[in-house]
Amino acid sequence: MNPEQALSRRVRSIRPSAIRRFFDLVNGMKDGAISLSIGEPDFVTPWAIREAGIHSLEQGHTHYSPNAGFRELRTEICRYLDRRFALRYDPDTQVVVTVGGSEAIDLALRALVDPGDEVVVPEPCFVSYLSCAVLADAKVVTVPCYAEDGFKLDPERLRAALSPRTKAVVLGFPSNPTGAVMSRDELAKVVEVLEGSDAVVISDELYAELTYAPATHCSIASFPSMRDRTVVVNGFSKSFAMTGWRIGYACGPAPILAAMNKIHQYAIMSSPTTAQYAAIEALRSCDAEVAAMVAEYDRRRRVVVDAVRKAGLSCFDPLGAFYVFPDIRATGLTSTDFCETFLTEEKVAVVPGNAFGGPGEGFVRICYAYSIENIEEAMHRLQRFTAGRIK
């Protein structure tokens, strides 16, 4: 028996990505190397949150929680979404606490898609949308977003991608990898297009807290016509610097959330109990800590954008998440060549834009969830690197 052949066609269709090789290089880097490649906060979880997790352990809260998560947490999630983004949900029927936003994306796709259904995914985008859609047996239809549009979703291109078989559209704004944010007015045009279809929107809003003036986050679910057909995915990883706790959530129409909870119940049982206690504290008392982290990201963002432009690369002003996505075509290099050469010559790791989909070719993703000292040194090396290459 050949174990290789035991694998499903579905899982085999997902190729190990070329980017793995690049990250092996990054992990092997020695002293003096600087990585601006990892998409997670450098901040440690605020102490009040860690303390709440520790306290829950001291109290012996080490058992399963209800499948959908503790009601107290679901209630706090609903209060938070209402307070911050004017979204109203019922904690008893419209919320499931998940193992990160990652699980919520997977659950939503699995709950919605039948084999052959189409899932529309704007690119460049977070890497798991496509793979999760494929694993759910969807036919993926990508929509390119371009630098000229600030990497926002163009409503007409979306319209062209929709068909009667479109089951879901996955939106990820503020965007990993581009840092693009869509304003209420821009979303309104997307909503108009979606109103002409029966697609459910899976709106990945993990970076909702990380927007920089003048941008603010607007959830597509806050449009009355979208409310009953949007699954909002959010979590604690980015906003509260809680990546390792593995906790997030989904909110949306009760029938869809009930279906997602069904899958969650059998695949996962319930999200980590310690993380849920910590998350309750995060939502209750950590607005100031979040604001301080956002202010620090904003300073780093300005440093990177300024330096990248001084290095001769063009770059739109990214007003969300913690990424800058400059155009490196002036160097004459492809994204992959740029990143590999920059890594070997200057020992700085940034991620090739094409790893996030075709339209990312010609761009690189610089993550600024790093100390300002590291960022400034890396930007110094970037300027040295591009100096000889840009004519």
């Binding site: 990505s17 990250f23 990892i38 450098d42 990993n176 300073r299 300005r302």
Partner: protein
Amino acid sequence: MGIRETILGLLEKDSRLTAERIAVMTGFPEAQVAAEIAAMEKEKVILAYGAVVDWEKTDRDPVTALIEVRITPQRGQGFDRIAHRIYSYPEVKSCYLMSGGFDLMVIIEDASLKSVARFVSERIAPLDSVISTATHFILKKYKMQGTEFAPKSEDDREALFV
């Protein structure tokens, strides 16, 4: 937050930041940042620039003590006069007027336990308006001016593709 508060917030954490770097970080024009800093220095909004030092790692390891001082203010002189007589000594690093069980909190740094004790008994206690003093020696510094003394500084994040 206005431009001054923004600049001060940054300088309080890193007094070596130049106007140029602050301008990049905040988006304010460099000339304006430089002018505000100069004005705040002149107006004594910014009093001094210093460093947070872990002296234990050096050959000089001074003793720090907190002294609670209770005083009777003299007629027409209030607390300021007596505070001035105390904080004018260079050994006094900080001096605060307090609410509660005592009046002045005096923070002293000196070469040895003995020299601190001598300072209290010879300089502070004999003052007419001082009713009593209580001296507390600092045994270990964990955090000072928002800075931890033994921070976890390693970035041990795994290079994952996310």
